[in-house]
């Protein structure tokens, strides 16, 4: 009806907030993946305030069988965790992670961005290639920025898929993060007598086009 011409209509006025809430409800319900505020606004008529509509929607679903949850900078609808027992049919058999993979994942989540050498320093053993590959393949971790230390090692960080998997709004909501930080257990403390590597932020040997010498071999 009206929706046939949302574009011409929107030149004049954004739809009322209740209508915006309905739109977001529809989009989030339809999608299995989290949707960002930007994507929501791109789909909605011009002038909509997706963030405000989201806040209303979130309140509306408070305590219901499905919930509006935040995943990184995106939003999704998920069933309430206390109703998991009804869903045996939907449960997907998750691949069992090895103890090494679980620890590596936790270290990446709590220490990110973290290099392979740092993971090995914390675990006290070398990290097997398969472990990192598995986590990359599951898209729970990805490469982060290179560390500006000798060798320019790549770092690892966790992904939005990881947050979605564990029902976290952001990596700041990891359980016990604050306590661990307060206890100094997330510091990268070097063994006594070892010189800290200099954080040399700009490297003259890098030409303007961002081609580090690493790629020239």
């Amino acid at each position: 009806m009206q929706e046939a011409e949302p574009n011409t209509e929107s030149l004049f006025e954004a739809p009322p907030m209740g209508e915006q809430e309905r739109m977001i409800e529809a989009v989030l319900f339809a999608s299995a993946e989290p949707v960002t505020v930007r994507e929501l606004e791109a789909r909605m008529p011009h002038g909509c305030d997706a963030a405000e509509a989201l806040a209303h929607l979130r309140k509306r679903y408070d305590g219901r069988g499905v919930q509006v949850v935040k995943v990184g900078d995106a939003w999704a609808i998920r069933t309430a965790a206390d109703l998991g027992f009804l869903m045996q049919k939907e449960t997907v058999e998750t691949r069992k992670l090895s103890r090494a993979a679980i620890e590596t994942l936790a270290i990446i989540a709590y220490h990110q961005p973290v290099t392979r050498a740092e993971i090995e320093e914390i675990r006290g053993v070398s990290v097997s290639r398969g472990t990192v590959d598995q986590l990359l393949e599951m898209e729970w971790i990805r490469f982060g920025r290179r560390r500006m230390t000798p060798g320019r090692p790549v770092t690892f960080v966790v992904t939005p898929e990881f947050l979605d998997q564990f029902g976290l709004e952001s990596a700041r909501d990891l359980p016990g993060l604050k306590e661990l930080r307060a206890a100094g257990l997330l510091e990268n403390r070097l063994p006594p007598g070892v010189e800290p590597a200099t954080e040399n932020d700009e490297d003259d040997d890098m030409n303007k086009d961002g081609q580090p010498e690493l790629f020239e071999d």
Partner: protein, 263 residues
């Protein structure tokens, strides 16, 4: 008294039993740090208050016992044993003022920190895995909707595709060597010739950068090539005994000096 501590005769029965239990399962451990963490539990105290000296003793008992049972321990277990023996002596003997480096207490504190951090990460991992999980405790939309079929084709690729694609090409290169035509190369031979002519005149420490040929310092490509070959040439001259070379820290300028034949 302190001599006694270095002998393995006075191992308590409990220690022996603990060590044997560890050895039976040595394959189940993830390296020396894991063993130390397990041993530390026998102290039944907060990890912050752990006695590293006691822990070192327990670990050495464990390694000694393994030797008696002719169990092959991986090299890193033996490296840890050697290090702990060293730490033990540092902790027990009065500090030698002439000796440099960190004190035994500093080393012990760091080891305690490592153990506490590993334990903390294990606890964190357990808490993480105990959380409600997508697809197990809470669920995504079972039926993503398709009301209007407006087909737009987009093409995707993942980082893995990209890396594999690049790897494929570069692997091919190993059999069909690829060289870019580059005219901005300052060869090591050229650098060596140049350096031989210049080092005779310099007395004190001079930065290596000042040896770069004129016209090779502004263009980054040329500067990189000239720097690399000048550095390689410098090393060659050091090897030949004509030069001294030093760098105070990572990324600091590299400095050269003509070798003084009188010293």
């Amino acid at each position: 008294m302190s001599d006694n501590l270095f002998q393995e005769d006075n191992i308590s029965v409990a220690d022996r039993l603990a060590a044997e239990a560890l050895i039976v399962d040595v394959d189940g451990y993830e390296g020396p740090l894991d063993v130390l963490l397990t041993l530390s539990r026998t102290q039944k105290v907060d990890l912050r208050k752990i006695s590293v000296l006691e822990l070192a003793r327990q670990y050495l008992v464990f390694v000694e016992k393994a030797k008696l049972l002719r169990i092959e321990l991986a090299a890193d277990y033996l490296v840890m044993a050697a290090w702990l023996a060293f730490l033990k002596s540092r902790l027990l003997l009065p500090p030698d003022p002439t000796e440099e480096g960190p004190t035994g207490e500093e080393l012990a504190a760091h080891l305690a920190f490592q153990l506490e951090r590993l334990q903390a990460m294990r606890d964190a991992a357990a808490r993480l895995m105990a959380r409600d999980r997508l697809g197990r405790d809470f669920f995504a939309r079972g039926q993503a909707e398709d009301i209007t079929r407006i087909k737009t084709v987009t093409y995707t690729a993942t980082l893995l595709d990209l890396m594999q694609g690049y790897a494929r090409i570069r692997t091919r290169d190993e059999f069909r060597p690829f060289t870019m035509d580059r005219d901005s190369i300052f060869t090591m031979e050229e650098a060596l010739d140049r350096m031989r002519g210049l080092i005779g005149f310099s007395g004190g420490w001079t930065e290596m950068a000042s040896y770069l040929p004129d016209g090779w310092t502004s263009d980054p490509m040329k500067r990189r090539s000239a720097t690399a070959s000048t550095f390689a040439a410098s090393l060659e001259l050091v090897k030949e005994g004509h030069l001294d070379i030093r760098q105070t820290e990572s990324f600091a300028p590299i400095q050269l000096r003509k070798k003084d034949s009188s010293t």
